[in-house]
Symmetry: C2
Subunit: 228 residues, 2 copies
């Protein structure tokens, strides 16, 4: 059943980038600028970051930035793309061999690990989407696509597991997925805002396992480990 590449859509990203192949020497400075800009935008946001700062940080003249990117906004969009890259992974690929239960658990674990490991950019995107709709139209769309892609995977997997009778079925797959996502987002919020929150993905995975598959706590822990 080759519904491949649920989450792999690295192409066709935010509008307004489409950077053609330039010469090699320009690529270096362009990268330096992008690196600096990413750093600054992510830590301070769009309006709080000036082009002069970016230029200084990238050790480049301000005019060069405007040679690479027509406007500040275009630079910002390029940065968004850069930050967004790790969000697109090919999940189906790496978990094709697992049964539904382990795929679900892996998916849950993945969400939390991702938030933990990319806390900075997650925080940035959240703030960006809460504020400044204008600049984030494409971004919001993009992230919503990711989000509903993730949700659909969950729904699909739970549905399959239910049909095979290996999963609790006192609810629709949609409701179950919605519930899990709510819980995950709750954990995310806690992690992003409470400095000392530990955010233990293992215990979350174990709770989902108990809830969906009535696994004992011991079983659940082992299930996580078994995924390598």
């Amino acid at each position: 059943m080759p519904r491949d590449h649920f989450l792999s859509m690295v192409g066709s990203q935010l509008k307004g980038q489409s950077q053609e192949s330039h010469g090699q020497q320009s690529q270096d400075s362009r990268d330096e600028i992008l690196k600096a800009a990413t750093q600054l935008f992510a830590n301070r946001g769009f309006h709080e970051t000036s082009m002069s700062e970016v230029a200084r940080e990238a050790r480049v003249s301000k005019a060069l930035i405007f040679w690479h990117f027509k406007t500040k906004e275009e630079l910002f969009l390029a940065v968004l793309n850069r930050l967004l890259e790790p969000y697109f992974i090919d999940f189906a690929e790496e978990s094709r061999m697992l049964d539904e239960r382990h795929q679900i658990l892996r998916l849950v674990e993945f969400y939390l690990l991702f938030v933990r490991d990319h806390a900075n950019s997650v925080r940035f995107f959240l703030a960006q989407m809460l504020r400044e709709q204008r600049l984030s139209e494409g971004l919001g769309e993009q992230i919503m696509r990711l989000y509903s892609g993730y949700r659909n995977m969950l729904v699909e997997l739970i549905s399959r597991a239910q049909h095979r009778g290996v999963c609790a079925s006192g609810f629709t797959p949609e409701d179950a997925a919605g519930f899990i996502l709510s819980a995950l987002n709750g954990l995310m919020i806690e992690f992003l805002f409470m400095p000392r929150a530990t955010m233990n993905p293992e215990s979350a995975v174990s709770m989902v396992d108990q809830w969906l598959f009535h696994a004992s706590e011991r079983e659940a822990t082992e299930a996580v480990k078994a995924e390598h």
Copy 2:
């Protein structure tokens, strides 16, 4: 057991306000300015809003703003206070007569209704805390106090309910409160980001009721209604 006013701390707010009683004529213009500034800051954020804009929106000269507030930052803090006011309510007062179960359910309902009715400022505070730590130090503290006040109420109520034997007790009150808060925050996220999310507080309350008190769905619905 008079642990009064869990959430009532309207006094002692953000540093740097302390507005002495001015004459009456000044109060009007001050309010106009605050109203305009609140509007603008909440929709665009601090750096994206200029004093000239505020002046124009309030139909007042820019200099007058600086007569009322020494700096832009001071104006911003005053706005934060204004936005924060509805967050401080005296919950203990209004629910003293209810038993634990209904207090808990009321508390859960309150959280969701509040987020729904103050979506704009919630969104604003969230964005503000995700970005711009500098300006939000006091704010973050303040909100954390509110948040942990809320959590403590939950913990306390669940604990009492457990001791009276009217509440499921396969977990510590702290864990239960943490779980409920995660769920609530998950719903909040969904509501803030998904335009069409319905965010039905009743069904959430009913789920908590079923979970904590093993109430049937029918009972739970009635319990909510019974609170007036």
